[in-house]
Symmetry: C2
Amino acid sequence: MTILLVLAHPNEQSFNYAIADTARRTLEDLDHQVIFRDLYCDGFDPLLWQDEFPTKAPLPPLVEEYCTELAAADGLIIVHPNWWGMPPAIMKGWVDRVFRPGVAYEFLEGDKGEGIPLGLLKAQSALVFNTCNTPAEREQEVFGDPLERLWQVCILDFCGIKDFERRMFGMMVLSDAEQRQGWLDEVARMVARRFPAQE
Amino acid sequence: MTILLVLAHPNEQSFNYAIADTARRTLEDLDHQVIFRDLYCDGFDPLLWQDEFPTKAPLPPLVEEYCTELAAADGLIIVHPNWWGMPPAIMKGWVDRVFRPGVAYEFLEGDKGEGIPLGLLKAQSALVFNTCNTPAEREQEVFGDPLERLWQVCILDFCGIKDFERRMFGMMVLSDAEQRQGWLDEVARMVARRFPAQE
């Protein structure tokens, strides 16, 4: 399988990098092809401008590449910290610019944009890993854990990805090396279970 | 009063611009001082990098200016379209970089980041205006209208702004000039009610 792995964190020493690295190695050990995109490292510009709104708009090369990779992926793994109940701006912009009509979804004929679109992604399965510094109970009860619904319903299901699993690790500031290693082992198990070796 | 009005939309012909313009004129007619920030027009870079994490980190001039304006505002008006249940990336980055520790919130002494921080914003009141192309019922029942909780709880209440009101206009693609004018009249009424002329 070809798995698109997308990471958004500005620090290469961060636990988010360790998650992405663990996911990548696990996939490679299972003989999957991994397309790893580190958005900060790529210098990705997250601003969607008006000229990219039309379905057939010409796109800058990097955005075009990102679109091709997203459309071709058999599975998706997303890694980012929880910043204000949302992904970092750079990953929000990856969604804004890359989850385009004609790539990730399309409106049915005669629909001016008011109807329920058709999800176009070939991938059927996605994993989302997040880190946070909010106690799990407070995240759930006060903030309502917005990332769950944003990724599952607003973005992935909308584009046709029905199988979804997410894990948020925290609280990072209180974790020690042993706990983090346990979390990385969990990442490896989740990745292997979701994307098993093909016969 | 000094009201900070922040807009994120790439098209100056958009209804979002018309909302911001109506809000600005209404505030000026009531003798408020308006600080109007058009993030796309400012060329704002929404990427938060590691070197800006520390509370006392030196900031680029525009970010510093944005922080000063946010801290000094008596009220806040936010205008943006609903893109994937979130603000456009440029406004997500305005939150990432400008709602900083020491500006918008602070952790209590001895708190490494795991506790409940103190909101620092002087503003007590905020209005959020959004546009969308999703039927209201579908937005509520399928997507859960994430913008409501994101702005009210995850961002503004977190930073000390308790009075919150939000209005999402739509569906834009099906609206005509008359309906849009009615919506702008509603914007003007909401702004005048929330930020009345001072004695």
